[in-house]
Assembly symmetry: C2
Homo-oligomer: 256 residues x 2
């Protein structure tokens, strides 16, 4: 075994599976390499059967907390030496899911550090756009209903979060979950209907005065290219992937 292997990076994917793949791609895309061997040791675990739908849990509260399945994935990663990991799902970062998850990790997997995707995003927004106040975000109904973004982009710190109106939130949810055209079922390629809904809802947020928009669901970057907009568009998955690269090999972090 080569002694220069970096501390192992883990990605808890499967939530959904294509979003996990996109998170991994972000790690690769943000690493400076000249050959295969320069890429960072990374393990993507995708066990979706273990993790109930996060939005359903938050809205209906009738099934097992997804935190338990996320923890089982974390346990498996830790068992093979993973040191830093993220969960590739925004909705999972709701305190009702993420707090019990991180509590279990702290207690039972003390050698594993969880990089919180939304804390990473908040820190990046504050750093790169310190004057930013009005920030829009596209998300699942579970993320909106649980108020998870309000926990990270706090009013008392000057943030004013903007959400699409009721119909827009419903349409975004369909763009993610619809069996006919939603990204979770139709990812490769993403359907034009899903993409057009997400583009339009982003433009509407900007038109209403949002100074930046967050793609607040890891399925959204599969459909929306931040470069399609003049305004800053933040992708928490990309930011967390960059944070993981920066933690294990800062000299290899590609300039953004």
């Amino acid at each position: 075994m080569c002694s220069s292997e970096n501390p192992l990076i883990g990605v808890i994917g499967g939530v959904g599976p294509y979003a996990g793949l996109d998170f991994f791609r972000n790690i690769l895309n943000n690493t400076i390499i000249a050959r295969d061997q320069d890429h960072l040791s990374t393990v993507l675990i995708s066990c979706p059967a273990l993790i109930p739908d996060r939005t359903e849990y938050l809205l209906e509260n009738e099934q097992e907390n997804p935190a338990f399945g996320m923890f089982e994935c974390a346990r498996r990663l830790e068992a093979i030496g993973v040191k830093y990991a993220s969960v590739a799902c925004n909705t999972a970062h709701s305190k009702r899911i993420f707090d019990p998850f991180t509590a279990m990790v702290r207690e039972k997997l003390p050698n594993l550090e969880i990089v919180n995707m939304l804390e990473t995003c908040t820190a990046q927004v504050k750093k790169t756009m310190p004057g930013l106040r009005r920030i829009g975000y596209l998300a699942t109904k579970g993320t909106y209903a649980s108020g998870v973004y309000h926990e990270y982009f706090r009013e008392d710190e000057g943030f004013s979060l903007m959400e699409p109106e009721f119909q827009g939130r419903e349409r975004i949810h369909e763009a993610i979950y619809s069996k006919e055209f939603g990204i979770k079922v139709h990812s490769d390629p993403v359907q034009a209907k899903a993409r057009s809904i997400l583009l339009y809802e982003t433009f509407k947020l900007l038109d209403r005065g949002a100074e930046a928009v967050i793609l607040g669901c890891t399925e959204l970057p599969l459909a929306v290219n931040p470069h399609d907009f003049l305004a800053p568009i933040f992708d928490p998955g990309k930011l967390a992937a960059r944070r993981l690269v920066g933690l294990v090999a800062p000299e290899k972090l590609r300039q953004d």
Copy 2:
């Protein structure tokens, strides 16, 4: 934990890392699902620093056999319960690498079954095109020099393998390895120069009489779409991914 989790699938990626990602995508794309939770539990391990370049090993024989790094990845996968795994690299299937690798797995990881990507490809070619004789393949210089495809597509079984001419083989190698435009360094997006070389060399093989062409390097499907050709184009990575799905959940294997 949900009791209905499938036997864990493993992908030994990192050889190269984007090819591993593509292999994982093939598992997702070939699974019938209606929601996230229907996707199969899969772990992608990508530890490229552990696995020296396969082509360099075969051509120069000066470094450690990549089999040892592949085995370390297999060991990690087995430690978390993976039952079936493939190595997402054609060149690694040369007997000089793959035989010691599978010997170590059989001896030390008896619960892990390795699905051989090239055996799977040969079986599929024989099944779907039983009369096929003249078969072209695009590959790295290591794959050509090691004769690995001749071990699987045997003359005494009637196969006549066709390779590009010398200059073509050099150009294909550049399309994969060049620091300026090769797929290993420039995968997202693939550069037009790499793509055009590979398209042209495929057309030339078909023009010389190949009845089908195999994309004999896992980087090639990142650049070449089999649907760009009228002739049958085989992608061993896709075939092995389908085989893994069929092994753990035959009822979920999507029709090709």
